[in-house]
């Protein structure tokens, strides 16, 4: 980017500065610590200059928004066209109370829905299963069957909102219910937009909501992708997630590397199914975390976009530019929140939101300040949403595209993260690919080691965490926390009994039998899942069909 003559001069001058003013200053008073690092442990230099980006080629490495390699953004106008989608993850109790929260959020200016399901649904159990005891309606909404889904989207037109569903191993079942409800509402599937997470690999790596062994669960993932590509063209068929990898303790670069490694595995699996890369890749979406170190996060997003574009073009020979775009949702870092002095979390979330805006994300969930204590209260949720609105509409971060481009530090960090990602991907390839790296526990161990390093840094006070190891204070226990009604479980169990008693048994049984038959073949299961949910089969019943055929996954590796 710079002429050699200019660089030479900068190098000479920098040395002069180091020996002169800097040297004198350091002699008088040394810096606060010998090494400065990001929260990921990456060393940070005192000063970045053109010397750190001397190999940068603007046209090759940065280019223009909406064009390869998409370093500067995936759309030509970015937030000058429209802001990111403000999408708050929400759900608790039964379908009715969650439906009320959704309609409140939409009235407050939220632009998309994001369904939090309770753990039994995520793990493929009905609310009255023994393992569901105590969990019903706790961390999300209890959805057992199509009637619940109908109540959940009552008075919400499915052609007007887009809905994201955090649903993985049983993703097909919940999407089937959603599509069935859309049909009831008279909405053409071509107009239905949204996302299912459908990312089973990261469940095995770190999030724990797995059901089936990797090979089989991947088959269901690909079935969904293939089905939507033909029948629900606007649906984002997967949200390949680094969020939870970061929550589990990874560094920024590991988050990007392991997520893209998962992305490569899904792409490969779809191609092996016989799909053309450009037929499905434009609907692959991603999901990342945003921590408080704004500059490192921005570099991470930029590096990820550039690397993925190259992977798609070079490795998978994609031709459609949309296949090369790393489009992603962001959630602010849940683990960065502290239970101590919880109002401080508002500031953390604001910085993380700022990082997302400067990094060019497509949608965002901001955490509520009380989430290290409980599920968010309405007041906390409102502040979280307002935080996004302030960053979008007051901060100026949205006025120009990729404003940090050209910063010597950010460009250098972008290169560094991209190089680290590349190193991991190469290592994983050498291990026989992502599935095999997961089976060997490699990815899990890398994450756990980073988590351990970070914890040690906090405990030795090498890294400051406000309210945890510095600026601590006595405070009265917080009050007014959200309590989920424990009786939802009993209500749901009684209601399920009724539901099962009142359905057309012959129709129900025929649908499940058919699904069982198809699931043992290579045929796409999705049409039969839709038939089964319409015939009133429950989430647990459908998941059991697959449990019986595919077996259940048990994690293999430990620290």
């Amino acid at each position: 980017m710079f002429e050699e003559k200019v660089l030479k001069k900068i190098k000479d001058d920098k040395e002069k500065w180091e020996q002169g003013p800097l040297g004198k200053s350091l002699a008088k008073s040394p810096e606060a610590k010998p090494v400065f690092t990001t929260i990921s442990g990456t060393p940070v230099e005192r000063l970045y200059t053109p010397l750190d980006v001397e190999d940068l080629d603007y046209e090759r490495d940065l280019g223009y928004p909406g064009t390869f390699p998409f370093t500067r953004g995936v759309q030509p106008t970015m937030y000058r066209g429209r802001y990111w989608t403000m999408r708050q993850y929400a759900g608790f109790g039964d379908a009715k109370s969650t439906n009320e929260r959704y309609r409140y959020l939409l009235e407050q200016g939220q632009t998309g829905l994001s369904v939090a399901f309770h753990l039994p649904t995520q793990a493929g159990y009905d609310s009255d299963h023994p393992l569901s005891m105590g969990e019903v309606g706790k961390v999300g909404v209890a959805i057992d069957h199509i009637d619940d889904m109908r109540v959940l989207f009552d008075r919400i037109p499915l052609d007007k909102v887009t809905t994201s569903m955090t649903m993985n191993a049983p993703a097909g079942v919940l999407l089937a219910m959603y599509l069935a409800i859309a049909k009831e509402q008279g909405v053409d599937w071509a107009k239905v937009g949204g996302t299912v997470q459908n990312d089973v690999l990261k469940e095995i790596i770190c999030r724990g909501q797995y059901i089936y062994p990797p090979r089989h669960t991947m088959r269901l993932t690909v079935d969904l992708i293939e089905f939507c590509q033909k029948s629900v063209p606007k649906w984002n068929t997967i949200s390949i997630s680094g969020y939870h990898i970061r929550e589990a303790g990874s560094t920024a670069a590991q988050e990007m590397a392991f997520t893209l490694a998962d992305g490569i595995a899904y792409t490969q699996a779809c191609i092996e199914r016989g799909m053309d890369v450009d037929s499905f890749a434009p609907r692959l979406s991603f999901f990342f975390n945003a921590f408080t170190n704004v500059l490192e996060e921005v570099a991470k997003f930029r590096a990820g976009r550039r690397y993925w574009a190259k992977v798609m073009r070079e490795r998978f020979k994609a031709k459609d530019p949309r296949s090369m775009m790393l489009r992603y949702h962001v959630q602010t870092g849940g683990v960065t929140l502290t239970a101590q002095q919880p109002l401080n979390n508002i500031v953390r979330v604001a910085l993380q939101t700022y990082a997302t805006a400067l990094g060019g994300g497509q949608s965002l969930h901001t955490n509520s300040y009380d989430e290290a204590l409980c599920l968010p209260t309405q007041q906390a949720v409102t502040v979280a949403l307002r935080t996004q609105q302030i960053v979008a509409e007051e901060s100026g971060a949205t006025d120009t595209i990729d404003p940090l481009a050209g910063s010597y530090y950010v460009e250098s960090m972008t290169d560094r993260i991209e190089a680290e990602v590349d190193e991991y991907i190469k290592k994983i390839d050498a291990m026989g690919g992502t599935l095999s790296a997961i089976e060997q526990g490699y990815i899990q161990k890398e994450i756990q080691n980073s988590a351990y390093r970070f914890q040690k840094e906090i405990e030795t006070e090498e890294r400051v965490y406000v309210g945890i190891n510095k600026y601590t204070m006595e405070e009265p226990p917080p009050t007014g926390l959200l309590k989920v009604d424990m009786s939802v479980g009993e209500k749901k169990a009684a209601e399920l009994k009724q539901y099962r008693a009142n359905r057309d048994n012959a129709k129900w049984k025929a649908a499940l039998d058919k699904l069982r038959e198809i699931s043992a073949t290579d045929q796409n299961v999705m049409p039969y899942v839709i038939e089964a949910v319409t015939a009133k089969a429950t989430v647990g019943e459908i998941c059991d069909v697959w449990r019986n055929i595919y077996g259940e996954y048990r994690p293999k590796e430990f620290v």
Binding site: L119, P120, Q122, A123, Y125, P130, L131, S132, M133, G134, E135, K138, V139, E203, C206, R207, G208, Q209, E247, A248, G249, V335, T338, A339, Q340, A372, L373, C374, L375, Q448, A451, Y452, Q455, I458, E459, G467, I468, P477, P478, T479, L481, V484, M486, R554, P555, F558, V559
Partner: protein, 132 residues
């Protein structure tokens, strides 16, 4: 040979967030304990069976999905039924302070909320664990 502290580290319920549980397991092992990790999706019955078979001195329960008030007392109750009253029971995770009293009254020996240094947990176990 000296007695070693044997610990069960368990995650009751369906919550899959095991960063804290695994981290603590590792820290306790480094402090010289023998730590049995049970993995996810444990029912109170499974946890107590493990405690009995392993002759555990400590049982650690980690919960981040808000189900502590349901699961922890259940574990305490079953431990009592099996005659395992002298086993130290500690809990951690996303547990609001206002629940501490209830959990302690129901028989938990200690609750460690978010941000507790792992060293403090190790010390508590070493100071309060039974002799076999």
């Amino acid at each position: 040979m000296a007695q070693k502290i044997k610990m069960i580290m368990a995650k009751p319920g369906l919550d899959g967030h095991d960063r804290g549980a695994k981290l603590l397991a590792r820290v306790c092992a480094e402090a010289g304990m023998e730590v049995v990790y049970t993995g996810l999706r444990q029912t109170p019955e499974m946890i107590v069976a493990a405690a009995e078979q392993e002759d555990a001195d400590v049982v650690g329960l980690s919960s981040l999905s808000g189900v502590h008030n349901y699961f922890f007392p259940k574990v305490v109750e079953l431990m009592k039924q099996k005659g395992l009253e002298d086993v130290l029971l500690v809990g951690g995770g996303i547990i609001p302070e206002e629940d501490y009293d209830f959990l302690k009254k129901s028989g938990m020996n200690a609750i460690f909320g978010p941000g507790t240094p792992t060293g403090a947990i190790v010390d508590f176990i070493k100071e309060n664990v039974r002799k076999r």
